[in-house]
């Protein structure tokens, strides 16, 4: 009879076999312990970066000690400022194009259907599946022939094209959920299609814009291949490329590489922590509803 008095969430069963309270509490502690272990594993990269960057080259080799030397001499080895600036320029320009191109297209595919629009949409979406490596050689030669590999333009245009299919897909899915009447009304009100796009569609689409921006930012900021091949001037390298090239060269001191890694990881981590929910939304787009 006592079981009836306990709240249902705590002991849902009249079944006597599992003694209710004690094992459950033990279970909770085991669970908590397991989560701590996983947390340690997932935090390991950060721990390595921080600890290693706080050693000088000789301290790193001998094992012990602590020094700010790797940090204070960092800029003489890795042009951090320039590289972060490059990453920022490439990222923002690419994302701007991806948004400017993807949003109207998504709106068109969802609300302004034209002849063959479904086929065209499917073709664009399937381009999401084409890895850059599959078309790397022609792409590289084309962009070089267009004389775009000198500055940032080549990388920007490649990132923009690779990101466009996803953003078209995301915007189309998003606008399909917006009622037709809302847009019809605006157009009848004399806004015109460009007016409706600017004054009606854009404000509605803010969550989708945020999702595309966050996902593409992390993708482009973290990418190596495009920056490595499509930006020819070493002085214009993005930070990820700069780190990878130094690491592959095997001549740079590891503590300094780790300090640089930490700096490169910071912006993406901050964006991620700030906009976590948009990331999840974009990732599971099309499957959770």
């Amino acid at each position: 009879m006592t079981t009836l008095l306990t709240p249902p969430t705590e002991s849902p069963t009249p079944n006597p076999t599992p003694p209710v309270k004690k094992p459950r509490r033990v279970g909770r502690w085991v669970l908590f312990g397991a989560m701590i272990v996983v947390a340690i594993v997932m935090l390991y990269p950060f721990w390595v970066m921080i600890i290693t960057s706080l050693k000088s080259e000789s301290q790193f080799l001998s094992g012990g000690g602590f020094s700010w030397l790797s940090w204070s001499s960092l800029t003489s080895v890795i042009p951090i400022g320039q590289e972060v600036l490059s990453s920022t320029i490439v990222c923002s320009a690419s994302i701007l194009i991806i948004l400017c191109v993807g949003l109207p297209a998504g709106f068109a595919f969802a609300k302004l259907r034209f002849r063959m629009s479904t086929v065209v949409f499917l073709v664009i979406v399937s381009a999401m599946m084409v890895p850059l490596q599959a078309i790397l050689m022609p792409e590289f030669v084309n962009v070089t022939r267009l004389h775009l590999t000198g500055g940032y333009l080549g990388a920007i245009i490649v990132y923009a094209s690779l990101g466009t299919p996803f953003s078209v897909f995301l915007f189309t899915t998003y606008f399909r959920g917006v009622p037709d009447e809302l847009i019809e009304a605006g157009i009848v009100d004399g806004l015109g299609y460009f007016g409706a796009l600017w004054r009606l569609v854009l404000p509605i689409a803010v969550p989708a814009i945020a999702t595309v921006t966050v996902l593409q930012f992390i993708q482009i900021w973290d990418d190596l291949l495009v920056g490595l091949l499509f930006i020819q001037n070493t002085s214009e390298r993005p930070i990820t490329v700069g780190l990878a090239v130094l690491a592959a060269g095997r001549t740079t001191s590891i503590p300094q590489l780790m300090a640089g890694s930490l700096i490169s990881a910071l912006p993406a981590m901050l964006v991620y922590l700030g906009f976590q929910r948009y990331l999840v939304k974009g990732l599971t787009m099309g499957i959770d509803r």
Binding site: T13, F32, V38, A39, M42, L43, Y44, P45, V48, M49, I97, V101, G102, P104, A105, A108, K111, L112, R113, F114, R115, S117, V120, M129, P131, L132, Q133, A134, I135, M137, P138, E139, V141, T144, I157, S161, L162, T164, P165, Y193, L197, D222, L224, L225, L243, A244, A247, A248, I254, L257, S261, A265, A268, M269, L273, V280, L283, T284, I287, D288
Partner: protein
Amino acid sequence: MTLKRRRQLAGVVFALPAIALVVCFIGIPIGQAIYYSFTEWNGLTSTWIGPSTWTQAFHNTNLWTALRNNGLLLLSVPFALGLPLCIAVLLHQRVAGWRIFRSIYFLPTAISWVVLGLVAERFFAYQGTLNSIIHAIGFSHTSTNMLGYESEALIALGITFVFTMIGTNTMLFLTGLATLDPSLEEAARIDGAGRWRIFRSITLPHLSRFIQLAFVMTVIALFSALFSLIFVMTGGGPGYATTTMEFLIYETGFNQGDFGTAALYGLILFVITGIVGVVQLRLIGSNE
């Protein structure tokens, strides 16, 4: 009537920039890759050779090594799905502080695979963390140098790959678990079902779509996202021990200057990911 025409026209105009970008920088290069795969090409001049380029390529041992490496790496996929599934179930128990744990688990997702590769290189290195652990648990005379040996480097790469996929896949499974109706589990528990039985008969079937999606995403990443890891960890070596298809394309094109063969390898990769991609489109499509 005219309103309909105007709307269609507006649709075409709005869609055109996206279409142009995708056609010029993804569509046309696919066509070019097909053409150049039949030529001898150094990036400047190309000479038509014909289908014999393909038979020649398939006699190249490097291609088979790369395909074998990709095949062997597929063995890591069950781990890249299984571990995140366990972690997601752990998080779903909503232990005190689970939100903080969730943020911690997903944090590496934001970091570049270049950086994760650098850290992994330190982990597996002769004077790295792995050997410290081995010595700490008592095997003071045993040392590993996994990245230095042909037989072990690929395993190290596979382990790193599993680690890099944990965040994304856990995120997917956790979203799946959140859509699970808790009253179903509750009902099963009242009917006397044990935890394992509930997991197998209710949770797992419910997650099947998410598991399929995670599987496809993991396999695609395996074929097209390892470049950064390989570039910083092994450079494809020792020998060709960690050269996968995508790295072979880069290596053949930019280190050997053989653009034609690299374009051909690209097409093979295109076909492989295409097959996986069709599966994914069907998964997304079946839901609409």
